[in-house]
Symmetry: C2
Subunit: 201 residues, 2 copies
C-alpha cells in the first residue's frame, strides 16, 4: 500500500491525489499541518530531508519526494505519460517550467494569503510575484492557442502539474481573466474522466 | 544536426554542453548575449516563448526548452538515465529539487554578482538567497554521506543537473567549504570520463 504524506490545501499534494484517483490506485493519506511545521519534525525529515509534502512512501518504505517526480513515477506505463522520447521530454519541459517559472509566482501568493494571512509582511511580495505569474500565464496562453492540452493533444501529467495551482490562482489574488485559452483549458481538464477537486482526498 | 542556443557563462547551458560532449553527439552552438536580451527578440521567442537559454533545436526545427528536459531527452537510452521506474523517478526528484530548491539560491547569486555587478541593488538579495542555498547544500551533503552519486551509485543526469551550479557556487559568494561530502562528490564528477569545464563549448 502506498502512503501519501500530504496537506489538503497543497496544490503540489493535489497533483498526486488527482492522479492516484484517476489511476484508481488505493493509498493511505497522512495529513501534515504545514502551518505547525509538521513537515520539519525529526520523524518526517527521515522520510524527506528537504522537509516538504507531498512525499510518497512505497510499500517497502522507500520515500519519494517532489510532486512532479511522484506523478512521473505513478504515471509510467499509463496514458498520462507518453512513451515517445520527444513527447516525454516535452511533458518534462512543462513540468520544469511549472516548478521554476510558475509555482513561485502563481502558488506562493496563494500560500501567503491563505497561510500567513493578509496582515503578514510577506504580502508586499505579491506585486512582483504576480508580474512574473502573468508572464508564465502568457506563455501558457500562447501555447494553448492551437492546442487542447500541453502535449500530444491529450491529458498528461504536464497538464496535471500546471492545473494544480493555475485553477486556484485567484486565491492568491492573481486574476487569470485575460487568458482565454488558459481558462478554456482549465475547463477541459476538469471535464476529463475521474476528475476530483483540490478539496477531495 | 542539433543546434544548442546557449550562453557560455550559463550553468543551465553547461548541463547540455557537458552531456553532449560525454555522448559525443555533434551539435552547432549559437551563443546568445543574455545581458543584451538576445533571448527576448521576436526571432528567438518563436523558438522559446519563455525567452531562455538553453534551448535545443532538433533537425526538424522542433525546439525543446528547459535545461533538465533537454538533458533528459539527450540521455534517454544512455547510461546517464536509469530505465528502472523508481530510479528514473529518483533522478527526476533531484532534478526538480535542483530547479526549485537549489537554482534560485545557488545560481541566482552568481548571476547577480557576474552579470548585474556588485554595485547593483539586487546584491541585497544575497543573504536570504545564501541562507536557502545552505539549506539545499545541507540536504545534498546528507544524501551524499553514504553515496558516491545521487542515484544508483553512478553518474546520471541528476548529478549533471546539480553539478552545473554547485561547482561554481563560490562565484556567487556562496561558500561550500563546510560540505565535505558535496566537495568530494564534485571531485568525483569532475574525474568521470569525458568531463569538460563550464568554459568549454
Amino acid at each position: 500500500m502506498l502512503t501519501l504524506y500530504d496537506n489538503m490545501d497543497s496544490g503540489n499534494g493535489y497533483k498526486a491525489r488527482l492522479l492516484l484517483h484517476k489511476l484508481a490506485v488505493p493509498y493511505k493519506r497522512v495529513e501534515l499541518d504545514i502551518d505547525r511545521s509538521e513537515t520539519r519534525t525529526a520523524q518526517f525529515l527521515v522520510k524527506n530531508a528537504n522537509g516538504r509534502i507531498p512525499t510518497l512512501e512505497l510499500g517497502d518504505g522507500t520515500c519519494l519526494p517532489e510532486s512532479n517526480a511522484i506523478i512521473h513515477y505513478l504515471a509510467e506505463g499509463s496514458p498520462y505519460l507518453p512513451e515517445d522520447r520527444l513527447k516525454h521530454a516535452q511533458v518534462l519541459q512543462w513540468m520544469f517550467f511549472e516548478q521554476y517559472s510558475h509555482e513561485p509566482y502563481v502558488a506562493t501568493p496563494r500560500y501567503i494569503v491563505r497561510h500567513l494571512g493578509r496582515g503578514h509582511a510577506r504580502m508586499r511580495e505579491l506585486p512582483d510575484r504576480h508580474q512574473k505569474g502573468h508572464a508564465a500565464l502568457a506563455v501558457m496562453d500562447g501555447h494553448l492557442a492551437k492546442r487542447r492540452f500541453f502535449v500530444d493533444e491529450r491529458l498528461t501529467i504536464a497538464d496535471i502539474a500546471l492545473y494544480a495551482y493555475t485553477h486556484v490562482a485567484h486565491e492568491g489574488d492573481l486574476d487569470i481573466g485575460r487568458y482565454g485559452n488558459v481558462r478554456a483549458w482549465l475547463e477541459r481538464v476538469a471535464a476529463e474522466p475521474r476528475h476530483i477537486p483540490i478539496t477531495q482526498g
